[in-house]
């Protein structure tokens, strides 16, 4: 049963936990849920645009030059997203800071653009890319939720009409475990999530072997 390309990106081949790609910006940005969502959206946007452009440009560009061209392509797209965010969401852009620009060298995006550019059907590429992007955002959201709830006792989203944007958790927000929202907490949370993902994957593989065997 071949899961749809989109869903494969979400769980089974969840980029962040299983392949640990694009780990660099994820951790530093995962102390607030709004920042995680912002970066996740950025990754999905850049990924879709880059894969589409690469898929179309591929026949035109000589083989040897392709890595360099993809690098420039992704960097240009990241700058575009950066400018757009500075225009419409300045507060979020300010919070993300350098880590949004770092998407230009993100292993996940560059790796995917390289891999997907060779695929034949454009729509399948886009669905795979969207799946991987959504998987990345989901995993990042998971880390951000754990870190922000424990580390600052709140869930910051985007202000919308009367809703101020910050959900305060009654008990925890008075005495949150601030260390969890520091760098140490990020590495710890990711460590346990990777262990969990590894155990789930091993469990699923054992289940498949048993059913296949």
């Amino acid at each position: 049963m071949r899961e749809g390309a989109f869903f494969r990106g979400l769980a089974r081949e969840n980029p962040l936990l299983v392949y640990l790609l694009g780990l660099c910006p994820a951790l530093a940005v995962s102390d607030l849920v709004s920042k995680a969502l912002g970066l996740g959206a950025g990754v999905i946007l850049v990924l879709l645009a880059a894969v589409a452009a690469a898929r179309l440009l591929r026949p035109v560009i000589p083989e040897r030059l392709q890595p360099l061209v993809w690098l420039v392509l992704v960097a240009a797209l990241v700058s575009l997203v950066d400018l757009a965010m500075q225009a419409w969401l300045p507060a979020l852009r300010q919070q993300l800071g350098v880590y949004l620009q770092l998407l230009a060298v993100n292993c996940l995006i560059l790796g995917l653009v390289e891999r997907l550019a060779r695929r034949r059907s454009l729509s399948r590429c886009l669905r795979l890319a969207a799946g991987q992007g959504a998987g990345f955002t989901l995993a990042l959201l998971l880390i951000a939720l754990v870190r922000e709830v424990l580390g600052s006792g709140t869930i910051t989203l985007f202000p919308f009409g009367s809703f101020g944007g910050v959900i305060r958790i009654p008990g925890l927000s008075l005495h949150p475990a601030r260390a969890v929202s520091l760098a140490a907490g990020a590495l710890l949370v990711l460590g346990y999530l990777v262990a969990l993902a590894g155990r789930l994957k091993a469990g699923r593989r054992r289940a498949e072997q048993r059913s296949a065997g």
């Binding site: 420039v72 350098v98 770092l102 230009a104 292993c107 990020a186 590495l187 990777v194």
Partner: protein, 199 residues
């Protein structure tokens, strides 16, 4: 800020790995052995020492005067890619001249994943510095900080390989937890300590 202040900040207070959380992909890839961790650390320090002043010059002499600051990301990426090629060529030359040095250093030069820490450090360091010389020192110190974290983590990883670590934690998870505990220790180096020590 004095030179020593810059060095102390870049190595301990704003440690590239344990404070900025940059360069985690190459770090965990090289945590396998102390030798590869040392090689990676030296390679990153060398590359950073070269790119930081170049990036500073590009920023302050080209982008800002011509009001092209919005091209910063693109410009930096291209510059770093260029320097990368230079360093790789130097690596090939080094291979012929001093194979031993190359083996310790060279194996990591083409590592594309390194540019996370290179671009990240440049973007974080450059705005705060006032001269190309200071950027070179800051770049080198950021690389040294990476080297320290990388070698210490690799030595811990080497010890854990001979211990009965629980099944689910073996490999990357236990390295991540160890890095987390190291980051906890590095909290000792904070802004107050920096201010009191170096003014």
């Amino acid at each position: 800020m004095s030179f020593v202040g810059i060095i102390f900040t870049a190595v301990f207070v704003n440690n590239v790995v344990l404070y900025q959380l940059l360069g985690l992909c190459p770090l965990f890839a090289a945590a396998g052995s102390r030798r590869s961790a040392l090689g990676l650390g030296l390679a990153v320090s060398l590359v950073l020492a070269l790119t930081a002043p170049a990036v500073w010059a590009l920023q302050h002499l080209v982008l800002v005067p011509l009001r092209l600051a919005y091209l910063q990301t693109l410009a930096f990426v291209l510059l770093i890619a260029g320097i990368f090629q230079l360093v790789r060529l130097a690596g090939l030359v080094l291979a012929r001249l001093a194979p031993a040095a190359h083996r310790a250093l060279g194996v990591h030069l083409p590592l594309a994943a390194v540019n996370c820490v290179v671009l990240g450090s440049c973007l974080l360091l450059v705005p705060g510095l006032s001269s190309a010389g200071r950027s070179a020192i800051a770049g080198l110190s950021a690389g040294a900080g990476f080297l320290i974290a990388s070698v210490v983590l690799a030595s811990i990883q080497a010890r854990l390989r001979s211990e009965w670590v629980p099944e689910a934690m073996r490999g990357l998870p236990i390295t991540l937890v160890s890095a987390a505990l190291m980051a906890l220790g590095f909290l000792a180096f904070d802004r107050v300590l920096l201010a009191k020590l170096f003014g």
